[in-house]
Symmetry: C5
Subunit: 332 residues, 5 copies
């Protein structure tokens, strides 16, 4: 028989009146199996935050979860989706949050049964603390309603994570705009690119989420109460806003890229104008000076009393002519 | 109990014959509660233009408004949407207007009951004055018809705000076009970008509005009379025009950006041509002058009577050759 | 009572056998009101080519036209659309034509009743002369069939206006292509941009027309005979062709823009090569000449008999070396 | 009565056993009219490859073809479409082929009756020879089956023309790729543009064809046997492949354009580096040489024994410093 | 009669208990024909990995496969598709894998009957080894279930090939990003372009696959068990992920292209600044030196004791002025 590491899992047992929260091991879980299928009024949320194929398999067997679901939970490159199985509803989504100024992503799977909700994350830590606190407090809606409402609360918190991430990005974009006009360079390029990448992935995760929320609010799925579906519709319209905002930010970033490029090319223009003005003024002057630096024996101008002042005069005339030309061309 | 600031609200009570407009406080409202649910022929419009979560909560309780709606009114980053609840219709939209040459946006929520309409704005001031004046005047359609027609009038004024904003933008784009060709620069870039941003947000606000007007005109929603739906369809086709125009302006701006970039690069070309022509003519000439400025003891040319004129002649030949070359290349 | 300017309108009364065409004033129209609602076999086309809100209102009252239609006719920024009212069909579209080499647009409204057709333009002149001539001639289809067929004929002429405009644009694009490769510049940019703008607006007008033709051919609308709907389908597929062609031309223009930009940048490259070749050859030579132009007392080379020829030799060697380098780099 | 040029038409009369192919004139056709409407087992294909409005009109009258169809055949700017008329099915499409390395297009109209197929081209020559040969040979499917199968064979040959054209384009794109990297220039630009144009038009012709094949395979049209519809579905999926390939090639060409532009700009960079390195090394050196070429009376360095070598030394130091700087910047 | 090369084919005969794998020739196959149509519990998989039109024809006759299918298998430019025929289901798809760091593609056709599956590849070698091993092992699902499940396993392996290919591409993109910023050049351009091309084709192959998986999971096709359809849905959502990832990578590559272009243009800017700074400082200095190198007889400065130091002083002043100007312009 395969060995199972005893990774602690968190089990929340709650009803309108009661609340219990404890770390359980697989063996404890197995010994209490009966309660998961009982029709008592208590509801359960089991949360596992580490990847452990063997443990996962055991839990899946305990809850009679389909083989395909188990494979999907373990495969980390999953597209967010919802699937209805005879005994449970399976949802996989991406949790998004900012950590140390960097966008992080974690895949999270939800399995909703009649009176239980299982959640499987990849690493410790999630965006669900707000929900846990509500669960602890007596009298909150989440305590009074079924596990489908708990699922709503978790998905709501998950979508809020997208909102928060976008807010941080919005601020970054605003800051960038000023930076780019005053000093466009490779650093700015890299920052734009990095944000662009984050937005790309954010879109990749949020877009299929929309299908999930639409399904939960419209298609009358298993274990979702009619009245909860309205809440999922609220999540749906929040997701639409998230997606619209992502789109808007992508356009803003594309605009920043253009601005940066045009700013570089405008600056090049300025640089070249300076070079051209200085060069075209002094090159002819140097030529005149060069001519009278020649050592020919018979150069009448050199002997003349007024040669030197006349050379200066001609050089001045050339310089002024050039300046007039540039002025007329509006180069400065 | 929570304290409620006594923010004045405007209450409009009207019917075909009567019209009454006054500032009310929450307590006044509560004392008159009965009239909102009476089946008298009078109709009410309650307008609140400040954000006050506590006051809002009280009003919502008074009108038995769903918890989700209350949250949605307070959450400012809402996507425009329409939702049908058992006792009322909920619409949230973005009001757009130009203030001091800058595009401003304000979120506005509508709650339509059988004989009342509630509107919640963010700050004082809106685009509804035209409607208020019609409401005051006896004999207008808005006085004769139900609150659904008042809703139409307000949405119509709101959409007109989009029209006006687009008109101002259209004029700016026309002005820019001339500016860019005569003097492309960073200022123009910033102006294009700013307009682009405004158009992006305008699109973000107008696009989901379209879904609202379509819903109101087609899906036979609660509290909307069959004959009013035709008016909402008129709003719908105006919104289509707004969206088409936004699209057209975005393309025009993209074209301006291209024009600006190409104009900068064309100018660079001109600058470089000047530099190249001057440099390539004088550099060889200076070289010739340099050669005869060398101090070698044995340089036969220097002793020659015709050295100097011949040097000039050769320099002239080189210069003419270069000019001929550039002429042939059509550089000027 | 409001005063009504007596703007002459054109009234065409026709049937298979009879044809009558005359200018009428409002008062004449009012005195003949009965005939518009009679069930005689005669059919009427009333054409008004000037904007006159007061007159329009009178006519609308005469024909019992809905208030919204009247507003729509006067609002010039209308999106082309078709609307069915109890007593008439309302269509608004954009007429497009070329005048003095410039694309012009005029809004035109059609109101189709059982035996009459009203058309309202903005200014005198339209693209309907072809239809008027057919109407005059006995034995033509348009004389034999109902007012719905007259509507088809007018819309057909209107769509042909789009065709003609596109033809002119197609020729311009072909001419431009040659111009851009031989001499890219700001003029060409402006021409491309102007064409692009025209195509943008053409698309904006033609796209919703498609919805009109689709509606007229499929949805069995009021006052349109079953057998005429096939003709509207023909218009529909012509509009599809118009839209496809617009799309194709837009892509061609985008390609022209790219070509122009790349042509400018290719030319810059050529200019810079000339500058670089000339400069890098002569700058080192000038340096050598400069060295032997120094006035140090002790410069052994200067005294040498072979100094001068050797200087030339070294300069020649440098020049040849450079030329070889450029040749190897395939710069010319 | 209008005169009719006696343009020879090709008439193919065939059944499973018999095959007859001959050139006919209009009058011969008129005299044999009865056979076209007979219910004999023979099938007819009439092919006319020249534009002749008068002749066309006569044929249309002979076969009782709708007025609109006749107009559509003559109008050359038709969008490919299929239309069902009471007595026949009308299809118009674009034939595409390569002639002398240039893409050519010809409009072709098909009219399918119960036992006849009419085809009208613009000029002599088509892509149907393969089908004609099958028709000649006894025992082929096309001989055994109805005129709908002949239509399938002709459309199949037409779609193969698109395949062949795309193959030629694919090869051209591959060749271009190599050319652009080794020598980007105006010639390559023109070639890219020309291919792009061809692809644009190919897309314009192929896209609506897809609607035709979908209609023929799904909508159970007149005169198309149930079992033949499967064959039209095969054409449909071939067209999807054609359209996918066009899309792919367009992206490849856009990539080529980018490659070409970036290649030009990369080369400019290289050219400028050479200019900058040579200039920035020699300009300071020339300055030093210039200083000691001055003719001031009191210049202590000039008198010094070590002046000249020291001048060389300082010039060498400057040159080496510059080279080190460029090396550090990785310019070569 | 046509000759048939005896290309060895692999025949897998299996049931829950039995497994047999052997190479067969056509004649062996023909002699065993009966078993393919028997209703025994054994299932067959026949795999042919070489193109042989004659052999293919024979097999098709053996299995009564439609003529069109046979043509489709041989035509290598097929768009992936699924078609239902009376006696079998036909699927054609593209297998994708990485070989020697290069993306390779092979067309593969599947024919699914009641108890057999035929697969036709182009060359030896496929991505199905994982499936073959499962087939060998007793007790696996693939052995226990029908041929539709074997088809699922093969398609699953095929889609995994897309996943693997994308993983390799993802790594390449990450590596490129670093390379481009440190040294943008033609090599990087070529690498980007090559990846872009691969992604284009990958998209072309994967997109229609999605239609296949959707069909197999939803439309209740022939020979696919209800319970297997769920597995095909799993493939479907994997394909959606593949397509999303392709899209994301294409955007990342487009971003790389932009980064590369802007990096080149930024570098050009840097190069030009160096040239401009050095040139504009030394050109005026050289001019001053040139002036005092003139040989006029009457140049008072030359005689002056302080001429030389003053010349140096003025040159220093010019140089410092220039440096100050560039500093103020933030050029370094």
């Amino acid at each position: 028989m395969e060995k199972v590491k005893s990774i602690p899992m968190k089990l929340y047992i709650y009803s309108e009146k009661n609340y219990q929260e404890r770390e359980v091991t697989l063996s404890q879980l197995e010994s209490e199996e009966s309660i998961f299928h009982s029709t008592s009024i208590d509801r359960f949320w089991l949360n596992l935050d580490e990847e452990d194929p063997v443990l996962l398999k055991k839990i899946c067997e305990l809850f009679k979860i389909h083989q395909l679901v188990q494979e999907d939970i373990l495969l980390k490159g999953q597209r967010p989706k919802v699937e209805e199985y005879p005994h449970h509803l399976f949802i996989v989504a991406k949790m998004v949050f900012i950590q140390n100024d960097v966008m992080k992503m974690e895949q999270i799977s939800f399995i909703l049964g009649e009176n239980y909700l299982l959640t499987f994350g990849e690493i410790e830590g999630d965006v669900f603390d707000r929900v846990r606190q509500k669960l602890k407090k007596e009298g909150t809606e989440v305590r009074a309603k079924g596990v489908d409402f708990l699922l709503y609360q978790l998905l709501d918190a998950l979508v809020e994570g997208y909102y928060r991430t976008l807010e941080v990005m919005g601020e970054k974009i605003d800051q960038m705009e000023e930076g780019i006009l005053s000093r466009p360079g490779t650093e700015e390029m890299k920052a734009i690119r990095s944000l662009k990448k984050d937005l790309l992935y954010l879109h990749k995760y949020a877009w299929p989420l929309r299908e999930i929320s639409s399904y939960l609010s419209k298609d009358d799925p298993l274990f979702i109460n009619k009245e909860t579906s309205m809440y999922f519709f609220d999540i749906h319209s929040q997701l639409m806003e998230v997606i619209d905002t992502i789109e808007t930010y992508r356009e803003l970033l594309a605009g920043l890229m253009d601005l940066s490029l045009s700013s570089v090319s405008y600056r090049l223009n300025e640089v070249m104008k300076v070079l051209t003005i200085i060069s075209t003024i002094f090159i002819p002057l140097s030529f005149i000076a060069g001519v009278y630096g020649m050592n020919f024996k018979y150069m009448p101008e050199l002997e003349s009393r007024y040669g030197y002042p006349l050379a200066w005069a001609s050089m001045g005339a050339v310089a002024l002519g050039m300046l007039y030309y540039f002025k007329k061309k509006k180069w400065f």
